[in-house]
Subunit: 206 residues, 2 copies
């Protein structure tokens, strides 16, 4: 009997904690994953690719999806819409894939509200705020203003770690990736409520 | 900052599902584990070693430990007392070890009641009741009467799978062990409520 049904892995944590690098490593080491790509109305930046970094849509298209209840969760940040479309997630779950989300604490909240029984959640952070600051300056992609906003956001998000199941401190990328791969493998064994009755019924047949 | 504090891994499941073999494999592949040995008043059987298979004590000694609240959980089964002493578990947790329990659904209930925030629980079973029956007969250690009792107990325990976080179907020992090692590694990253405030406080220090 195959108990490997689809499952969800949520990663949250400050920008600069290394989530993207960690997610790449998980995807390379675990088969049948699906990385959920967010939909947004914000302008595409230089180097971004539609369908890879985001699904870029117009405000009208986004509002239509809201009306049709096609989002698992959505939010407005600095005047731009960001959301997770339900369709591809459902399809991937049906195919038995591990669906990976890189979303913030609000997004995590929304996912837990609807799909907690198949969701494993991890908060990823640097060893300290000081280290996060260093990394954000070292990557030279953000202005001081943006970095300060990210740090403020990080302080707010860290306060909500206790809403997560696992905490991974990304001190060393390879070690953190190894731990996350274990969490991801375990996530696939989480017991989905909807299949448990069926399992018990089939199990006891003689 | 070291977030690897002690954690608990509970394994439950029918006798014959392969828990002992799986636990040996976990212990060999993960450092700093502590396998909790139960205390019992039942008579020692041929081949059993005191302090390895059980801590064998008298009924008087057991009752004294109950009075002194030294058990994490205890139960009476077929007139014999069985219990888990709290002392060694606390010590191992303090040393940052992963404490592994091979206990039944009642024992799991008791552990979750007191230590749910650091406990990861797994139900281990065979692919089917039929397969469990085969394995129990194949190992030639139990009488038909005992095997029937084990099967009845298995049917009762399987009904309570949904109380566990993870389900591992032991179809192939090596594959099941691999999955369990992942779950065990993940278990160590579980966020203990008591340390989270401290973490957040230290994290935000600049």
């Amino acid at each position: 009997m195959n108990t490997k049904t689809g499952a969800i892995l949520v990663l949250s944590g400050p920008s600069g904690a290394g989530k993207s690098s960690l997610i790449s490593k998980i995807i390379n080491q675990i088969g049948t994953t699906y990385f959920s790509i967010s939909t947004t109305t914000r302008a595409m930046r230089a180097g971004e690719i539609n369908g890879v970094h985001y699904h870029f849509v117009t405000v009208e298209e986004f509002k239509k999806e809201i009306e049709e209840e096609m989002f698992l969760e959505y939010a407005v940040v600095h005047g731009n819409y960001y959301g997770t479309s339900l369709g591809p997630v459902k399809k991937a779950l049906k195919e038995g894939k591990l669906v990976i989300f890189d979303i913030d604490v609000q997004g995590h909240d929304a996912v837990m509200h609807r799909l907690s029984d198949i969701t494993t959640s991890v908060f990823v952070t640097t060893p300290s705020l000081e280290e996060l600051k260093k990394r954000l300056y070292a990557r030279c992609t953000d202005s001081d203003d943006i970095i300060n906003k990210r740090l403020e956001m990080a302080i707010r998000e860290v306060q909500r770690i206790s809403e997560y199941e696992y905490l991974v401190v990304n001190d060393n990328l390879d070690e953190a990736a190894q731990v996350l791969v274990s969490i991801a493998k375990a996530a696939r064994m989480k017991i989905p409520t909807q299949t448990i009755n069926e399992f018990v019924q089939v199990w006891t047949q003689q």
